[in-house]
Symmetry: C2
Subunit: 257 residues, 2 copies
Amino acid sequence: MKMLTVKQVAKISGVSVRALHHYDEIGLLKPASTGRNGYRYYGRDELLRLQQILLHRELDIPLGDIRAILDDPRFDQLEALRLQRDKLAAEAKRYAQLVRTIDRTIADLNGESAMRNAELYKGISAEKQAEYEAWLVKKYGGDMPRHIETSKRKYESLSQAEKDQLNTDLKELETAWADAMRNGVPADSTALDPLLGRFRDWVSAMWNRPCPPDAFAGLADLHLSHPDFVSRYEALGEGFSEYHAEAMKAYARRLAA
Amino acid sequence: MKMLTVKQVAKISGVSVRALHHYDEIGLLKPASTGRNGYRYYGRDELLRLQQILLHRELDIPLGDIRAILDDPRFDQLEALRLQRDKLAAEAKRYAQLVRTIDRTIADLNGESAMRNAELYKGISAEKQAEYEAWLVKKYGGDMPRHIETSKRKYESLSQAEKDQLNTDLKELETAWADAMRNGVPADSTALDPLLGRFRDWVSAMWNRPCPPDAFAGLADLHLSHPDFVSRYEALGEGFSEYHAEAMKAYARRLAA
DNA sequence: GATAGTCCCTCACGCTGCGTGAGGGTCAAC
DNA sequence: GTTGACCCTCACGCAGCGTGAGGGACTATC
């Protein structure tokens, strides 16, 4: 029977000798036999088990769990695999997203395009995104996702120049809001009217009809669906959201009057 | 100036309060100000810095390095980003590969197909793969990668039934080899001849010509290019490789005679 | 059979990035 | 003045090893 020492196993498998010691310590991978001199000797079975361990470790499963999985034959491997598969697929997607984000960042640093701020954060924190969407639904009702989809598609269909113009408007509007908020300008001030007017035109265009009485919903919809919004909203904290809501309501009231 | 407490920042950013304490401790993210009561207060700048931190953390950059990056304006962000991008892209690819692997595993467990053993390990350890390829080149010369590509394409062009047959043959052959190795059967024994004969036919078919005198190269080529081989080779250790080489040489000698 | 070089062992402490209390102030509201 | 929800500072714990330190064991060579 061919037996291998730690070093050999380490070389074959790519893990460190220390790691093998560690796996022995925690009972994850015991050597087939131990020599009189205390040397660890591994056989084929241990190598195969090690492969299994590495596969699972690759999936970021804690070593203790790996041991449980490998040692418990009743363990539902299939279900575990499905779970892992979904986790991995999500990760892969997120990574791909991050790659695109970085590509845009690089392009931006090269001055090739003016990157939209918030896209920096795409791919970060899936839970955060889910939480945000839940918040949207809670705040604006179950139709919100559909509305968002609508305006997203609409947005995508714009020409680059139109997108740029809209982004500029959005930025101005947000800056003005933030300033107003910091300086204590009341939400129903008319100071923002010119900007809001331009914004209203955009909304009309986006919805293919005159800005409706429920302009608040329309504005919020468009606005919230814009990638810039998420991070800006987050960066400015909840106070901004309240202010924003108030401003929107005031705007809606004036429209209705 | 709007100031936020730890809890608020935590909620907005999705990190824990403890993490914020930690970031403060290690000087990665200091609060804008500290109250007389010892409370930490964060402003907009800190939130933006936090976003930057999270982006970098997402890329698995150690916190100390993130601090260095954010604090050193001379740091070549562009180059760092490119590096990170490549790392991420590799990771994304590896993850996608693992997902496919798991899909096949699941299908296999469902009895939908006989999965090829070694595909379990696709995606594991990129360095290992690179090392293995280096080993191939060293052992068989610089043409090896080209040969491998050739037989890979050839393999892909086979019908499913043909693939299955070949896989079965390969498995039998390997099992027989492994058994022979364990039982001390000498490498030039004729015990494996029937299998090798079938294998030779395959090689002829794969190369579209009679099995050449340098059958060893041909066989090894085909064999080593097969996905099963890598992990089996690894699992059996170096001894197997030696045995395999000897068996191949003996086979080549008999062919030549 | 001495010597050198390369392996092997067992402690044992260190590192990152926080989680998780313990023990105790603070603040706003009722 | 008393809740309740915050905030603070220690300080220990955890995974998954890396990295010596200190000391045998094995192999080859002279």
